[in-house]
């Protein structure tokens, strides 16, 4: 029932609306019919009035003609004609054929009348029809003049019963009398229009007769007017009345036999007239029937057809109303059904997406606006070792590795509805370990456009990152290995150089002894010795720098110095038959580079060039300048070329492969060019090789050119000699006796008391002595039993806060870190002579020296 109710109600509403429409339609139709009927009746009334009025006009004209004869004076034919002409000149005479005058004659008066007419110019005049009658009324005057008047001239209308009846009525009443329809005497057989004659009596002059008898006695004739119905009606309406058919019947019978006039035939096949009516027009005792019929054009012309509009519009509105009622009644049910369907669809959609999210190979999480986990799919939970429920509501920072939160926060917000570029992050697992992921994030906004969180897609890249790290480590090992190889290659040359230096030193020592023994000055020899020692020191520094195993440090620096240093080492190793031509740009060529790695590159390329020279004889060109790239950007251009054996295409294609070598076993590891390629790539550069067998090989390296860095602050003026000490006690430790002696002498000369030791344990025991009075410790790093750092720690346990200086021929990064942690100073051993006194003074001034006593207890300083 509930289901059917809306339909029934809608039907009821529609039916009521339709019923109302029908009522309105019916009412409008009736109103329209009434309106049309009123218009029709008005037209009928107006037509009747017009006809009456026209006939009344004719009567007035005829009365005028009557009055012409009633004045008493004789009226001539000319006067009659002129009067009639003037009367008929107006539009009201339309339809009138003419007027005539017929005198009433007795039989006795007739002959004289005829004689008079004949004498007046009508020799053949005769009264027609002939015969004896009790009275005659021959037509004597006819106007207006027309050729057919002859037909009427002399005719006696009294002889015609129709005319006679009207004439006698007019005579007896003194009023207008109209005949029935007749044929005028002037009509031809062709003329078919109905015609009428109007008669007014003419009495003898005197007062108007007051009785029928008196009228009969004083009657002297008649005046008559004739008109044709067709002419009359056409002058009233034209040939057709729009939308209406007029028929005029003689008498009250409106049959076919009585039709005098029809404005237009009724369409034979048309529908019956909607409106049809008659009106009876009576005058002078005579009646006409005016019948009017409405054609369809009448309705079209006057109808408004509002009923059809009401029917159509009402029908349509009824239908719409029914539909609206149905919609309103069923709206709730449909809305509910639709909501259920939509809910079902939404649930299905959510289930689909949930399955996708749950089973996705990628990690998916949602972070709310407060930075908390609002959702994490099982993949993420498994990665991190938590359950999904445990992750919900916790801050994201709980799951980010150390230092990753800042990186995450620094993640630039992506454009709306766009994902951020992947950010590689370390996430922290439940067990504290970390794993690498690549995070792509998309913001979530609410309906008002406010940030509501973020949707993150995570990809596990831990294996890749570890692989990259291993690869980087391997590459570093590779570089170091190759570096060692290069050093090995240089070993012979370096040894040769050192031999030369040592020869110079030993030689000058011998000269100095001899000179000293001879009492000669030894300054020149000592100066030469010093120069050789400095040279040796520089060579050692270069080797150490080249071989230093340290992390890549890119900084903008000129290429020339690092190339020159490398070539200086190389030159010492090259055979004399190998010419080394160097063409470096005069102006600094700035690149962003790691000096050590660049030296390794130059070294490897030059070594290869050297090895490519047949019989160790040839030329190696090294050059540096700037050149634009194909896009016009300036680049640093470094080339190394040789005129050696060259390489064929097959070899050329493999030269950068690790371990690929054309040398015999034991004469190269095949890593050199691989390392060069790797270093050039890391520096953002490119490498191009040109080679031809028997011609030589050219390696051209290009690096992005950097703008010159800001000028470094001016080097401070060389420090003034360190102030002399105040006899502070310095504990000197070095397993090299020469170094111990040297430091002792140097410090004593600088005003310090020195206790020298060659063994660190002995030095430690001395420091433990009560009242040892040690103010500063200067120790070598690399010693047997314990190294310098260990010694510093042990001394600090006994003498907390005592300043310590560690010297070493090679200071690694690890050593620097240890020194920083312990708070000890470091000194490169080769700079002992120049810097040790100042450093001791500095460390004594920086901290409170334990055991600093105004009274020295160490060996007194040298005077």
């Amino acid at each position: 029932m509930k289901r059917v109710l809306p339909h029934l109600f809608a039907l009821l509403v529609g039916a009521l609306a339709l019923a109302l429409t029908l009522v309105l339609w019916t009412h409008e139709r009736r109103s329209e019919q009434a309106r049309l009927r009123a218009i029709f009746d008005f037209n009928l009334r107006q037509a009747a009035t017009r006809i009456e009025q026209r006939v009344a006009n004719f009567e007035q004209m005829l009365r005028g003609v009557q009055g012409l004869f009633g004045a008493g004076a004789p009226v001539s034919g000319d006067a009659f004609a002129r009067y009639v002409e003037s009367v008929m000149s107006g539009p009201d005479a339309a339809g009138l054929q003419g007027f005539c005058y017929a005198p009433l004659l007795t039989p006795a008066e007739l002959p004289a009348y005829v004689a008079a007419q004949r004498a007046a110019g009508h020799p053949g005049y005769a009264v027609r029809p002939p015969g004896e009658r009790e009275a005659y009324a021959p037509l004597t005057y006819l106007a207006p003049a027309r050729p057919d008047n002859a037909n009427g001239f002399g005719f006696d209308p009294l002889s015609d019963p129709v005319r006679r009846a009207a004439m006698l009525q007019a005579r007896d009443s003194g009023n207008l009398a109209i005949t029935r329809r007749l044929r005028l005497t002037i009509d031809t057989p062709v003329q078919t229009q109905a015609a009428f004659l109007m008669f007014l009596p003419v009495y003898a002059s005197g007062p108007a007769p007051d009785s029928t008898q008196e009228r009969r006695e004083r009657a002297r004739g008649w005046v008559a007017g004739s008109f044709r119905i067709g002419d009359l009606m056409s002058t009233l309406y034209g040939e057709e009345s729009p939308g209406l058919v007029l028929q005029l019947h003689d008498g009250v019978d409106a049959g076919p036999a009585t039709v005098m006039y029809r404005s237009a035939p009724l369409p034979p096949d048309g529908p019956p007239p909607r409106f049809e009516a008659q009106e009876y027009i009576a005058f002078a005792g005579h009646a006409w029937t005016l019948q009017m019929s409405a054609l369809p054009e009448f309705e079209r012309r006057h109808g408004q057809d509002a009923a059809s509009v009401i029917l159509v519009a009402g029908g349509g509105l009824s239908l719409m109303l029914a539909l609206l009622a149905f919609q309103l009644l069923t709206g709730r049910a449909r809305a509910t059904a639709q909501a259920q369907a939509m809910t079902r669809e939404l649930r299905d959609s959510e289930e689909r997406y949930r399955r996708i999210v749950v089973t996705a190979g990628e990690g998916i999480w949602v972070i709310d606006a407060a930075g908390r986990i609002a959702f994490a799919n099982p993949r993420v939970a498994r990665w991190l070792g938590w359950s999904e429920a445990e992750m919900l509501g916790r801050p994201l920072a709980d799951f980010l590795g150390e230092g990753q939160l800042e990186r995450y926060r620094a993640l630039p917000g992506p454009a709306p509805d766009a994902e951020s570029a992947p950010l590689e992050l370390r996430l922290r697992r439940r067990d504290g370990s970390e794993t690498w992921v690549a995070l792509s994030q998309r913001p979530i906004v609410d309906d008002l456009g406010h940030p509501a969180g973020a949707l993150g897609m995570l990809t596990d890249i831990d294996a890749r990152r570890h692989a990259e790290e291993r690869r980087s480590a391997l590459e570093a090992q590779l570089r170091d290995a190759q570096k060692m190889e290069a050093i090995g290659t240089l070993a012979g040359g370096i040894a040769h150089d050192f031999n030369n230096i040592l020869a110079a030193i030993l030689g000058n020592v011998a000269v100095a002894r001899h000179d000293a023994a001879s009492g000669l000055a030894t300054d020149a020899s000592l100066a030469q010795i010093e120069r050789s020692a400095v040279r040796a020191r520089a060579l050692v520094q270069q080797i150490l720098t080249f071989s230093r195993m340290q992390a890549q440090e890119l900084r903008t620096q000129a290429l020339q110095p690092m190339i020159e240093e490398t070539l200086a080492m190389l030159r010492a190793a090259l055979p004399a038959q190998v010419e080394l031509a160097v063409a470096l740009a005069a102006e600094p060529v700035w690149v962003r580079a790691d000096a050590t790695q660049m030296q390794q590159v130059v070294m490897n390329l030059c070594t290869n060039a050297w090895h490519a020279l047949p019989a160790a004889r040839g030329r190696i060109d090294v050059g540096l300048d700037t050149a634009p790239d194909p896009q016009g950007a300036p680049q640093a251009r470094l080339w190394v070329a040789d005129d050696g054996s060259g390489m064929d295409d097959a070899t050329l294609a493999r030269i950068f492969e690790p371990f690929f070598t054309t040398k015999q076993v034991g004469h190269g590891t095949g890593l050199g060019l691989a390392v060069v390629h790797g270093i050039v790539s890391v520096h953002g550069g490119t490498i191009r090789v040109e080679s031809a067998p028997g011609v030589g090989t050219r390696f051209e390296l290009r690096f992005p050119l950097q703008p010159a860095p800001p000028a470094e602050p001016a080097q401070p003026a060389p420090a003034a000699p360190a102030p002399r000490g105040a006899g502070q006690c310095v504990l000197c430790v070095d397993d090299d006796p020469a170094m111990v002696l040297m430091m002792q002498a140097l410090l004593q000369r600088s005003g310090y008391a020195v206790r020298p030791f060659e063994h660190p344990l002995a030095a430690l025991a001395a420091a433990n002595e009560p009242g040892a009075g040690v103010d500063v410790v200067v120790s070598d790093y690399n010693m047997p039993e314990m190294n310098g750092m260990e010694l510093a720690e042990a001394v600090r346990r006994v003498l907390p806060g005592v300043p310590v200086v560690i010297t070493s021929g090679f200071i690694s990064d690890e050593m620097r870190q240890q020194a920083q942690a312990l708070g000890v100073a470091l000194l490169q051993k080769e700079y002992t002579l120049e810097r040790l006194p100042g450093l001791v003074h500095a460390v004594l001034g920086a901290g409170e020296g334990a055991g600093l006593r105004p009274v020295p207890v160490c060996d007194p300083p040298a005077p």
Binding site: Q278, A284, G285
Partner: protein, 281 residues
């Protein structure tokens, strides 16, 4: 029609008694005008005055040239000394010309609110209206005519009657059940031909319907309306209020000295004439 005294048949005596009773009974109910003030002006005869006659039974016949209205008009002319030009025309046209002022007078007309806007009336006769209905229509009361859809009524164009008669005419006209004619004669003919089944008549029409033929064919039903005064029609547009008052005086004098009654007695039995002409206007 000759001017012979009415000679009712025995069968019509009842009708006459009916007519007389109706006229007498309602004579006192007709509102009338106050007595003329002393010293009313005489009609102005400075110009020819026009009077329209319509052909209507005893009122006027164009065939005889005689009738009550013609007698009234002649008496008016005689008493006033004015020349009255008589013109016979349909009643509808008479009203048109009176309204426009082209016609000064007409006679034996009744008033209604529309006519009183352009015409003033001077009563001299009062009579009821009757329905002349065909016997074969089988009607016994005027009210039955409305209920019989197939019946048609004949009416003279522009004629008005008593209240209930007017209501009937208007209702039938709305139903297209009224046939109009400009005069009585055509209505008689179409009534005879059964193209209409009834027409409204008044005592003036009696001579035309007193024949045996009509007696056999028709019967008369009475409207419930009281007698309606008829009188002189004066155009407000063509006649000044003073002139209209003057002519009121002429009619009053004609009534007062029995002239009107005598005129009516020429056409009606004395009792009927007296009942029609002696009333309080």
């Amino acid at each position: 029609m000759s001017r012979r005294p009415l000679l009712p048949s025995s069968a019509r005596r009842g009708l006459l008694r009916c007519l007389l009773a109706g006229v007498v009974a309602s004579a006192a109910a007709v509102p009338g005008r106050a007595a003329p003030a002393a010293g009313a002006a005489a009609p102005d005869c400075g110009r020819p005055l026009t009077l329209g006659l319509h052909e209507h039974g005893l009122l006027y016949s164009s065939q005889t040239g005689e009738g009550i209205d013609k007698d009234i008009a002649e008496e008016m002319a005689r008493r006033s000394g004015c020349k009255l030009t008589l013109t016979v025309m349909p009643r509808a046209r008479i009203w048109q010309l009176v309204e426009t002022g082209a016609l000064d007078f007409s006679l034996s007309a009744i008033a209604d609110p529309q006519r009183e806007r352009f015409a003033e009336f001077a009563w001299y006769v009062s009579n009821k209206y009757y329905m002349l209905v065909r016997k074969d229509a089988d009607l016994h009361a005027v009210a039955d005519f409305r209920r019989r859809d197939g019946l048609k009524l004949g009416v003279i164009r522009s004629f008005r009657y008593g209240r209930s008669a007017n209501a009937l005419v208007d209702a039938l006209d709305a139903d297209q059940r009224v046939t109009y004619a400009t005069a009585l004669e055509p209505l008689y003919e179409i009534l005879r031909d059964n193209r209409i089944q009834a027409m409204i008549v008044e005592p003036f029409d009696y001579p035309a319907i007193h024949t045996a033929q009509w007696q056999a064919l028709t019967t008369i039903l009475e409207f419930d309306d009281p007698a309606v005064p008829h009188g002189l029609v004066m155009s407000r547009r063509s006649l000044s209020p003073a002139q209209r008052e003057a002519w009121q005086g002429v009619i009053r004098s004609m009534r007062a000295d029995g002239t009107v009654r005598r005129i009516f007695e020429k056409y009606f039995p004395p009792e009927l004439a007296r009942g029609m002409t002696q009333f309080q206007p």
